[in-house]
Each structure stands twice: as structure tokens, then as C-alpha cells.
């Protein structure tokens, strides 16, 4: 199964990359507000039960894919 995970830094934590990109876009003449840059992770996971797969991926997230101190994550199966 194909699973997509969005790993996003918590909103209260500063995001220098987003700030810099926002500034660059404004320099190019685009009017933008806040910009955030986060991760989208796509995985192929074996299994046919979506709930099972989701639980497995949640486990991966808390162990490796996301940083529990700084990130939130969201899992989409299929």
C-alpha cells in the first residue's frame, strides 16, 4: 500500500527556511504572507488492512520519521 505522511513542524516553532523563502518571493514581486516548508514522505508498505498499515506507519513516525519534540504528523493510507 502506498502511504503518504505529512510531517509538519509545530506552528510555534520558528521556521527560518519558510521565512527566507517568503522574503525571496516578495523580492521577486509576489505578494505572499506566511510561507512554511514541510515534508511529505511517501512509503510503500506491505499489508491489506488500512488500519493495520496506518498503525505501523504511526509507529515509524514516532520512532523515526517525525521529531516528537518539534513535529506533528498526519498519515494518509492509499
Amino acid at each position: 500500500m502506498r502511504v503518504t505522511v505529512n510531517v509538519r513542524r509545530r506552528p510555534d516553532i520558528s521556521d527560518p527556511q519558510g521565512t527566507t523563502v517568503a522574503r525571496a518571493l516578495r523580492d521577486l514581486g509576489f505578494e505572499v504572507g506566511k510561507v512554511r516548508i514541510d515534508k511529505e514522505i511517501t512509503l510503500e508498505v506491505d499489508g491489506d488492512d488500512a488500519a493495520d498499515v496506518e498503525a505501523k506507519v504511526a509507529d515509524m513516525c514516532s520512532q523515526l520519521l517525525a521529531n516528537p519534540v518539534m513535529d506533528d504528523f498526519e498519515i494518509h493510507v492509499g
Partner: protein, 738 residues
């Protein structure tokens, strides 16, 4: 106090902020009333252990800190020494232990950012960084994660900000498993006229806040993180993690250096722990003035921040500049040129009060100096722990001769002793094209362009020795680091120290602290080297177990002129004589790597260093390094003679024969000794130089061949193939990390 949401309702606010009832009472005393929320927030961060040094201040005065070449001693953001010919160097060391445990990458990265600001606050350009990092053993996944994260964080920040990391230390020991140590040191160079102080100047001076917008980063970090121990509940106390932005810092460095060059500032202060509270009060206190601070002018990243939050925020990459009113526009123009934000946030006033305004109202009125000068100064009780004597008598009964090949290979495979290049090859250590002796040798050396001077730095710590005897251990670190810089031809010049200790509320820990300080002080006095700055990190304990007392000494040395071809570990040639300088016949394995690695044992009492010998040996090393007669030298430290020679062999791809009389002598770690590879034609004159300084010498053997051969008289010999030793040494860390 409703506006700092740190604690459950039941706990009094001052306690939630890490303040004792007595401290709260003295705040009431100072103000003659109850503090307002913003005021209490300021006192809580400024009086925290981390900012006020309340447990250590009573003792730090013991350090010798005077010498004719000291320009700025302890107390400012960094120590400054005079290099001669109009050049100054600034040096400072700092710990980021607790933040690195919470988030290793960002914790280490922001540690680097902070130490850089301490240096360019003084007017100096940061030119080199060192990192001293300690973790639990690498067979545990958590420790690997922390090690990897910390190294990436130092690399990620240091490389991007554009300051080379040219040395450091890596060590692994069980006691750091729940409490890694991450210390970073920075050296800066400046022309004498660029020196700036952290002063607010005279009434009328304008305070300009430069750099990052302020957010809710690390609110209460200084008090909650660095001044308390880790235990089960600590994850809930985690304040929001601070994220380092090396790009912003790089711009800030260049902008500040331009401000100094153009003499546009009266003083500057970095915003580190305690953020604005500190940056407003310390310079005002130093200058004996008051200050009007307008929080509405502070540029912010998030809306709705309370005054307390604004005052406590530890947002990174910010500086406060104090500017004559007439020059404010020029300062703002420099900021805008370097594309950093700047805001006029305050005015220096006559008097002594720090007045803080927010949304038109005065939210704090306190004597600026009370935040620093009236901070509690504790005289914590201390005493030798009951177990200390037992430790001294707990020597290992060593009856049998070990398998020497096995022993040497095990030492080479120990991550604390093995090749640390896995770490330092992730660091840019060549930027600025000054690195004459790169990491991988005893001390790293940089040249100072435009002069003949070379600056050499070594950083050393040894938790095991200091645990067994904090006074001797502390002294030995000073001698070791001095000998290390002498290996490049430099004379020791100044020391900074980072004192990493457990919980100071325990009398045994306080005793370790006081003893260590005494040891470091005595050694510095013996060498006539001043302590020009340092840092104290207490509460390094987890679940009630303290780390080994782990002072780290950073030694700055100078060679003027710098030797044209300083000795290097990789310059040994086939046929060179292997000479040892310093006393023979060491028999003491207390605290040695051999005992730890081979027997898992830590006990006994390390030898007391001999100050006269230390002085002579350091002088001899510096003379030899400058003589051009000694292509390679290496001090004997952890792992003893055997490991020391093996490291030279591996670096130079040449074998060696070492003659020994007792095998213990191969692994003992007695101080004040070094070995050298000396070509036959120079042996005589080198020995004469040693004799001149009364340093005992012995010929241990020869370099050559493709084995390391350990020979006891003519009958017994153990051969370790160089190739095997090399692979073991080089892969010990990468093998465990992959």
C-alpha cells in the same frame, strides 16, 4: 500570574518559574512590594543557576585571572588577550548539555550560535570553533541518535555560518547516557581598536535590537532547562525548542563587524539565555545607568505575546546595540544593507531603574543592577563523599600479563580513543585558509594572516580521572592541554574552562566542584597561565545519578613566529628514533583507558602531577617543535605509550618497535610525558636540549616496518600488524554508526 503558562494552578508562580521562597522574599525586599508578572519573570530568569552562577560564584574568584597580557578577564561575554602588534584574541566556552538532550540537532546548533555571539559581541571576528561532546556508549541506539544529531547540528550550524570547527573531543562513558555533554568553544581575532564592551553608555544612548524577530522560543529555557535535573516528568516541562538559523547569524556577524569598524556603537550585548531581560539590564548595570525599554517596538514573530514572554524569550540570533542618537540612522542603514531587521527599542536614562513599557503601560520598574548584583550567592555546603576513600583503595589486582595484542587492538577499537574523523570530517575545518594544523593532531593551529603568529588550541576533559580525584584530575587537564599546544610550538597563554557537574545541592558534588577548581587553579598558577573565562553547568544528573565531574579545559597558546613546519603525527619516517621525554617507569593504571576498556574497572588514585616537571616538559616540547629537528611528536595521554605510538604509526603508515620493561608502563597514563620521532642525525642535539631543561629522556625504540612490535627484552615480543591496527582504529566509530 496568568500570562506565563508554565505550571498547574496549585504551585505558586515563583516556584513554577524555578524560584525558591527565599528568593521571592528578597525580590519583595528589593522592590518593597510584590513584583508584577513581568518583573517576576525577569528575576526568575536572571537569578536562575544558569545566568546568575548562584552556586558557583562564591568559588570562581579562586581562579588566577591576571597577567600582563589579559585585556578582559572573566565576567564579560568573552575573555580577551593581547597577542602583540595591535592584535587581540577573544576566547569563550559554553555548554548546551540540556537542550542537546531534548533535541540534539537544534540543541547543539543553537549552542554554536550562542558561543559565536559571545565572541563577536566583543568586537572580534569568530575564526574557529571547537566542540567537546560526551555521550553514553554507542551500543545503545539512543546514544547513537544523540551523537549523530549533535554532530550534524554542529556541522549544520558551523559550516553554514561560515566558521570552521577545527578541533574538539569525543568521549563515551556510561555516566553520560542520560545526560550528554555538549560544550563548544570559539576563538575570535580582532584589531585592538575594535574591542567593544557590553555597556549601555551614558543617558541618551539608544538601544537598537538587531536580528531575528522574537517568538515564544525557549520561554523559561534558562531556568527550567539548565537549572534543573532530568527526571521522569521532564518531558512535560519541555519549553518549545529553539531553532538555529545560521544564515541570520552570518548576516548578523557581518553587520556587527561593520558597525565596529565604522565605530558606530558605544556597546553591544548578545541575547542569549534570559533574552531581553539580560540584554537590557546587564549593560545598564555595568554602566551604572537606567534604561527605558519599549516592548511594543520589539519586532515579533508571533502576535499576542505577553510582556513576560517578550522579556524571557530566548529567540536566537539577536543582538542589542547601544548607539549615540546621532548615529542611529547609520546603524539602521547598515542593518538594512545586510538584510537584517532592526528596531529602536529603548533609551538609556539617568538613574538606575529599568523601566519596561508595553501597550502604553509600565509593566516593570526595577533597579537594573538588582537583576545581576543582587542575585543570590549561595554558600552551599560541601564535603568529601563517603565513597571517595573507598574508590582510592579499590585498585584492580593485576596478576597476569594480558595479551598485549588484544589489549592494544581493544583500545584502538574503543570509540573514545579511536579515530574521531567520522565527526570532524563533517565539519568545515579549513575555511579562511588559516588551518595549519587541522584536527587529528594534539592541538589545532591557525595562522593569523598579516602577522607571523600562530595560535594553537587544545581542549581536554577526562571524567574518569576527575571522578577518582577531582583536584589532581583538574590540574592534569591544564598540563595536558598546555603540553598539547606546545606540540605545535606554541607557549600556553590563557585558559577557559567549562565545569560540567552534577547536582550542587549534594555536598559531594559541591566538593568535587571546589576540588576541581583548586586543581585547575594550582596548575594555572604553576604555568603562569590566567583563566580568562568559563562556564558552569550544574544539574547534570538523571534520576538522581550525577555524571562524573567533567571539567573541560580550553588552552590557547601562541607561537610567534609560527614554526614553518610544525610537527605532525603523520610525518614519521622509517628509521626515525622513538624517544620518550618525561619520567619512566609509570606503574599507575588508576582511571586509565586500559582499566576501563579491558576490565570495566574505574578505581584507584591517579598520580599527582609535578608542576616543575610539567613546566619544563612543556617548554621543551615547544622548543623542539620550533627546532625543525622533530618531524612528529605526540603527548602521552589516554591509552598510555602504546596507544600514543600506535596513533603515530597509523597516521604515518610506518610501524615501530617499542621496548618495555613492565607491561603496565605501556598503558599507564601518568602526566607530563611525550614521545617524538627523531631522525638519527638529530638525536644527539635533541637529547642535549632535554638535558638543558632537566627533562629525563629514554630511547624507547625505532620506527619502521609494517608491524607495531612490543618487545620486553630480547626474548618476548608481540607483533600487531599495522594494517590491522589501522583498520580497527579508523572504523571503530563509523562501524558503530552505520
Amino acid at each position: 500570574m496568568s500570562d506565563v503558562d508554565l505550571a498547574p494552578e496549585e504551585v505558586p508562580v515563583h516556584q513554577a518559574l524555578g524560584m525558591t521562597d527565599e528568593e521571592f522574599a528578597s525580590v519583595q525586599d528589593i522592590l518593597g512590594r510584590d513584583p508584577e508578572p513581568a518583573e517576576l519573570a525577569m528575576y526568575s530568569v536572571m537569578w536562575s543557576e544558569h545566568c546568575s552562577y548562584k552556586s558557583s560564584r562564591a568559588h570562581l574568584g579562586r581562579f588566577p585571572s591576571d597577567a600582563p597580557w589579559v585585556v578582559v578577564g572573566p565576567g564579560e561575554n568573552a575573555g580577551v588577550v593581547d597577542l602583540g602588534d595591535g592584535w587581540y584574541a577573544a576566547l569563550r566556552i559554553e555548554s548546551h548539555n540540556h537542550p542537546s538532550f531534548v533535541e540534539p540537532y537544534q540543541g547543539a546548533a543553537t549552542g554554536v550560535g550562542g558561543i559565536l555571539r559571545d565572541i563577536f559581541t566583543m568586537g572580534a571576528r569568530p575564526v574557529a570553533l571547537w566542540d567537546q561532546i560526551r555521550f553514553g556508549p554507542l551500543d545503545d541506539a539512543m546514544n547513537r541518535y544523540l551523537f549523530n544529531g549533535v554532530v550534524s547540528g554542529i556541522a549544520g550550524y558551523g559550516n553554514a555560518v561560515g566558521v570552521p570547527t577545527i578541533g574538539g573531543e569525543v568521549a563515551f562513558e556510561e555516566c553520560y547516557a542520560g545526560n550528554p555533554l555538549v560544550n563548544v568553544m570559539c576563538l575570535g581575532i580582532m584589531k585592538a581598536e575594535d574591542l567593544v564592551y557590553g555597556t549601555a553608555g551614558t543617558p541618551g544612548t539608544i538601544a537598537v535590537l538587531l536580528g531575528n524577530a522574537t517568538g515564544r522560543d525557549g520561554i523559561g529555557g534558562a531556568s527550567v532547562l539548565a537549572s534543573a535535573s532530568f527526571d521522569e516528568g521532564s518531558s512535560e516541562k519541555r519549553p518549545s525548542v529553539q531553532v538555529g538559523d545560521p544564515f541570520e547569524e552570518k548576516k548578523l556577524i557581518e553587520a556587527c563587524l561593520e558597525l565596529y569598524r565604522r565605530s558606530l556603537v558605544v556597546g553591544v550585548q548578545d541575547l542569549g539565555a534570559a533574552g531581553l531581560s539580560c540584554a537590557a539590564s546587564e549593560p545598564a548595570a555595568r554602566a551604572g545607568v537606567g534604561m527605558d525599554l519599549d516592548l511594543d517596538a520589539v519586532h515579533v514573530r508571533e502576535g499576542d505575546m505577553t510582556p513576560a514572554e517578550l522579556l524571557m524569550s530566548e529567540s536566537q540570533e539577536r543582538m542589542m546595540a547601544f548607539v549615540d542618537e546621532a548615529k542611529v540612522d547609520e546603524v539602521l542603514a547598515v542593518a538594512s544593507k545586510w538584510e537584517i531587521d532592526a528596531a529602536v527599542v529603548g533609551t538609556v536614562k539617568a538613574g538606575s531603574d529599568l523601566i519596561v513599557r508595553h501597550e502604553g503601560a509600565v509593566v516593570a520598574t526595577i533597579p537594573a543592577a538588582s537583576l545581576t548584583e543582587d542575585a543570590p550567592k549561595l554558600h552551599r555546603p560541601y564535603g568529601e563523599p563517603a565513597w571517595q576513600q573507598d574508590l582510592w583503595t579499590n585498585t584492580l589486582p593485576l596478576l597476569q600479563v594480558p595479551n598485549l595484542k588484544d589489549a592494544l587492538l581493544k583500545l584502538l577499537d574503543d570509540p573514545s580513543l579511536a579515530d574521531p574523523r567520522w565527526a570532524y570530517e563533517q565539519y568545515d575545518h579549513m575555511l579562511f585558509t588559516n588551518t595549519v594544523v587541522e584536527p587529528g593532531h594534539d592541538a589545532s593551529m591557525i595562522r593569523v594572516k598579516g602577522t607571523d603568529k600562530g595560535l594553537s588550541v587544545s581542549t581536554d576533559g577526562n571524567g574518569r580521572h576527575c571522578y577518582l580525584d577531582p583536584r589532581r584530575g583538574g590540574a592534569r587537564l591544564v598540563y595536558e592541554s598546555a603540553l598539547n599546544v606546545a606540540m605545535t610550538g606554541a607557549r600556553p597563554m590563557a585558559v577557559v574552562d567549562n565545569l560540567n557537574f552534577g547536582n550542587p545541592e549534594k555536598t559531594g558534588v559541591m566538593w568535587q566542584f571546589v576540588e576541581t577548581l583548586e586543581g585547575i587553579s594550582q596548575a594555572c598558577e604553576a604555568l603562569d597561565v590566567p583563566v580568562i573565562g568559563g562556564n558552569v553547568s550544574f544539574y547534570n544528573e538523571t534520576d538522581g545519578v550525577d555524571i562524573f565531574p567533567t571539567p573541560v579545559v580550553g588552552m590557547l597558546g601562541m607561537a610567534d613566529p609560527m614554526p614553518t613546519d610544525p610537527p605532525r603525527l603523520d610525518q614519521v619516517s622509517d628509521g626515525d628514533h622513538l624517544l620518550m621525554f618525561g619520567p619512566r617507569g609509570s606503574r599507575n593504571l588508576a582511571g586509565s583507558a586500559f582499566e576501563k576498556v579491558m576490565h570495566g574497572h574505574i578505581g584507584g588514585r591517579p598520580d599527582e602531577p609535578d608542576p616543575y616537571l610539567a613546566k619544563a616538559i612543556i617548554e621543551l616540547a615547544a622548543q623542539l617543535a620550533c627546532s625543525g629537528k622533530v618531524p612528529a611528536m605526540h603527548d602521552i595521554a589516554e591509552g598510555g605509550v602504546a596507544l600514543t605510538v600506535a596513533e603515530m604509526c597509523i597516521a604515518s603508515e610506518v610501524g615501530a618497535t617499542i621496548n618495555f620493561s613492565t607491561w603496565i608502563g605501556l598503558f599507564a597514563e601518568n602526566p607530563n610525558r611525550f614521545v617524538a620521532a627523531v631522525p638519527a642525525e638529530h638525536v644527539e642535539s635533541v637529547l642535549a636540549m632535554a638535558e638543558e631543561l632537566d627533562v629525563p629522556t629514554s630511547e624507547l625504540g625505532r620506527f619502521g616496518g609494517d608491524v607495531i612490535s612490543l618487545q620486553n627484552g630480547s626474548h618476548e615480543s608481540t607483533e600487531i600488524p599495522l594494517a590491522e591496527a589501522t583498520v580497527t582504529y579508523r572504523t571503530a566509530i563509523p562501524r558503530r554508526m552505520s
